[in-house]
Symmetry: C2
Subunit: 381 residues, 2 copies
C-alpha cells in the first residue's frame, strides 16, 4: 500500500449494477474514477501535446515500459529527470509492465521461469525482462502507477497452458510487489489478473493477488482478439474476488459501449489506443457511433463532428474542413480528430461518474448503448 | 488602391540601407512590416493550428490559389463561407496567383496568350487559369491580399524568352487589376515584378507595374533555383523603380540571413516553407544556424533548441526529448519544431522591425549574418 494512505476511496456504488465512483490517490494527486487514460506509448500521446491533454481534462496518462526501454531507454530518461520532466507532464503516469508488448511485438521470444528473453522490434538487440527488470524500468521512468510483471498468454489458450502461465505470473507478480518493500515514496503497484478464458483460473488469479494486497488490480489478457462476450466474462470471473477498496483497471480497451459495460461490471480505469489510432485514419467518435470523415457525404458539411461538443475541433472546424485535411493528408486533420476522440472518451467517463453519483447511471448506460452503432451512417442532410 | 485608404504607411527607413519599417493596411487589420507570413498551402500551415499561429504572433498567412482550386475547390470554400471561416483564421490571408504552382506542379502545361491549360497534379483534370480565373478563385477564397496572375519563367531563361514572357505577364497583370474595378470592399491587389535575371526586363517590369498603381508589389521569379547573388540582384534591379509608398514582397524565400539582406534592399514582406518543411525533417533554426535534431550529439542534451527562446517547444522540452520524438517518428516532434521554426522567423522579423525603428538595424544585421552559418555544428559538450 502506498505510504500516502489508502490508494483508493470508494465514493458511490450504483444500486442496480456494480458501477462505482471513486478516487485513486496517486502521489501526483487524486484521480476521479471511472477514468479514461490516454495512451502515450513512446512518451507522447500520439499527435497531441501535454498542454492539450491538460485542457481536455486528462489527469493520468500511460507510458509503455517496453517501448520506452527500447527507445530512448529508461536509463537515459532517468538521467534527464524521469518521464514526467522528459515529456513535460506533471500529472500522474501509469506504466504497463512491458509484458504485453514483449508478447506482441518482440522477436525470438524465449520464456524462462525467471523472465523473457527477446530481441526488440527496433534494432533487434537481445534483451531480458523479468520482474526486477520491469520494476527497475518503471522506477527509472518515475511511474506513479506501476504494473506487476506478467505474462500475457495468447488467445485461445488451453487450460493446461493457461494454468502453467498463471503460476509463473503469480510468482512474478509477488516478486514485483516485494521489489518495492521499504522504498520511500513508492508509487502505487497494481497486480494483473490473468487466467485467459478459464473461470477457475481467473478466480484463482484474483484471489491470490487480493491476498497479496496490491494497491489496485488490473484485468489483463483482455482485448487480445477474443469475442466481446469473453471479454466481459473475463471481468465477471475476476471482479467478485477483488477487494472493493481497490481500483480495478481493464487494460487496453475498448469501444465506448464496452467501457460502459465494463463500468457496470465494476471496472474503474481504462486505457485504449482507439481514439488516437482511429483519428489517424480519419475516423471520429460520436454518440451515434463512429463516422469516417473521408466520406464524400461530408464534403460540404458545415456542421462540427458532433453538435454541442465542446472540444477544440468542434468549437472551430466543420466536417468539410476536417475531410479536406484528411484527404490532403494534412497533420492538422489527425490532430483535431485525435483531440475530439480523446475528449469523447474523457468526457464519457466524466459523465459516467456524474451519473453514478447522482443515481442516473442505469438510464445513461441504457440510452447510450442503445443509441450507439459501431459505424454511424452520415446523418440525413 | 483599397477603398479603405492608403494600402501602406512607411514609418521609418534605415539611414545606411534601404530597410523600412511600415504598416500594411489590410481589410482584416494592420500588419507591421517587415513581416514573415507562414505558408498555409492547402488551407493549413503544416502541422500547426490557427490558435498556435495566433499565439506565435502571426498576423497574416498565405493560402495557395492553385492548391485550393484543385482541392477542395474554391467554389466549395466559398459556399462554406470563405477560407477564413473554413480554416478558422480571422486575420489577414494573402493568396498567390496560382502561376508559380501551375509552372512547378501541373502536368501537360500549354501556355496561350489568354492563360495556361494544364492537368492538375492530384487527379489530372484538365484546367485553365488566366487572369480572370485567378482573380475569381482568389475572390472566392476571400483573400485579403491578392496577387495578379503571372507567368513564372524557369531559371535560366534567355533574354528573348524572358522578354516574351514578360509582355504576356504585364498584360495579364493589367487585366488582373482591372478585374477588380468597381468592386466594393475589395482586397489589396499586388503586381508581380518578373524579368528573370535580365536587368533591363526587371526595370521595365517594375516601371510598367508602378504606373498601373497596384496596392503593393511582389518580386517574383526568385528562389527558383538561381544562385544567391542573382536572387539579390533581382531585387536590386526591381526595387529602385517601385513606388516607396507601397509594400514590397519577395516571394518564397529564404534563409534567415537572406531575409535580412532582402530587408536591407527594401523588401517588407516574406513567405517561405523552410521553417515548416525543415521541421518535418527534424531540423531547427537557431541564431547560429540550423541544427539537425536527429544528431546523436543531442541524445542526452537537456537544453532547449535555443537558450532564452520563448517558443512553446523551448519553454518545456529538451533537445533530447525532441530527438527522441523525431527518431520515433512521433508527430509531436515535428509539431514542436515547426512551432520553434515559425517563432524564429516571426520574431526575427519583429526584431528587425524594432531595430529599424530604433536605428540599430545595421549592427543587428551585421551581427546576425556574421553569427549564422548554414549548418551550425552541435555545441561543444
Amino acid at each position: 500500500m502506498s505510504s500516502a494512505g489508502a490508494p483508493f476511496t470508494l465514493r458511490a456504488t450504483d444500486a442496480s449494477s456494480k458501477a462505482r465512483a471513486g478516487i485513486l490517490h496517486t502521489r501526483r494527486g487524486p484521480v476521479e474514477t471511472p477514468v479514461f487514460m490516454p495512451v502515450g506509448t513512446q512518451g507522447t500521446v500520439k499527435a497531441v501535446s501535454p498542454e492539450e491533454l491538460r485542457q481536455l481534462g486528462a489527469k493520468i496518462i500511460l507510458g509503455n515500459t517496453y517501448h520506452l526501454h527500447v527507445r530512448p531507454g529508461d536509463a537515459l530518461i532517468e538521467r534527464l529527470g524521469g518521464l514526467h520532466r522528459f515529456a513535460a507532464w506533471d500529472d500522474a503516469i501509469l506504466t504497463d509492465s512491458g509484458g504485453f508488448q514483449v508478447f506482441s511485438l518482440a522477436k525470438l521470444r524465449r520464456i524462462t521461469e525467471e523472465g523473457v528473453h527477446f530481441q526488440n522490434h527496433v534494432d533487434g538487440s537481445p534483451t531480458f525482462i523479468g520482474p526486477a527488470e520491469s520494476m527497475t524500468i518503471q522506477r527509472r521512468l518515475g511511474s506513479d502507477v506501476v504494473m506487476a510483471f506478467d505474462e500475457c498468454p495468447p488467445h485461445p489458450c488451453s487450460h493446461e497452458e493457461a494454468a502453467r502461465s498463471l503460476e509463473r505470473t503469480l510468482r512474478w507478480e509477488r516478486e514485483s510487489l516485494a521489489w518495492w518493500d521499504g522504498q520511500p515514496n513508492r508509487p502505487l503497484v497494481f497486480g494483473i489478473v490473468q487466467g485467459s478464458s478459464h473461470a477457475d483460473l481467473r478466480e484463482r488469479s484474483a484471489r491470490e493477488l487480493a491476498a497479496m494486497r496490491f494497491d489496485g488490480y488490473a484485468i489483463g489478457g483482455v482485448s487480445v482478439g477474443e469475442p466481446e462476450p469473453e471479454m466481459m466474462a473475463a471481468v465477471e470471473r475476476s471482479e467478485p474476488f477483488l477487494p472493493p477498496d481497490r481500483a480495478r483497471y481493464a487494460m487496453g480497451l475498448g469501444t465506448p459501449p464496452q467501457l460502459l459495460e465494463m463500468v457496470a461490471r465494476g471496472v474503474d480505469m481504462f486505457d485504449c489506443v482507439l481514439p488516437t489510432r482511429l483519428a489517424r485514419n480519419g475516423t471520429a467518435f460520436t454518440r451515434h457511433g463512429t463516422i469516417g470523415l473521408k466520406n464524400a457525404a461530408f464534403a460540404e458539411d458545415p456542421s462540427p463532428i458532433e453538435e454541442n461538443c465542446s472540444c477544440p475541433a468542434c468549437r472551430s472546424f466543420s466536417r468539410a474542413y476536417l475531410r479536406h485535411l484528411v484527404k490532403a493528408e494534412e497533420i492538422l486533420g489527425l490532430r483535431l480528430i485525435s483531440l475530439h476522440n480523446l475528449h469523447f472518451y474523457l468526457s464519457l467517463m466524466r459523465q459516467t461518474r456524474a451519473t453514478i453519483l447522482d443515481g442516473t447511471f442505469p438510464s445513461f448506460r441504457r440510452n447510450f448503448v442503445a443509441g450507439y452503432r459501431a459505424h454511424a451512417t452520415p446523418p440525413p442532410d
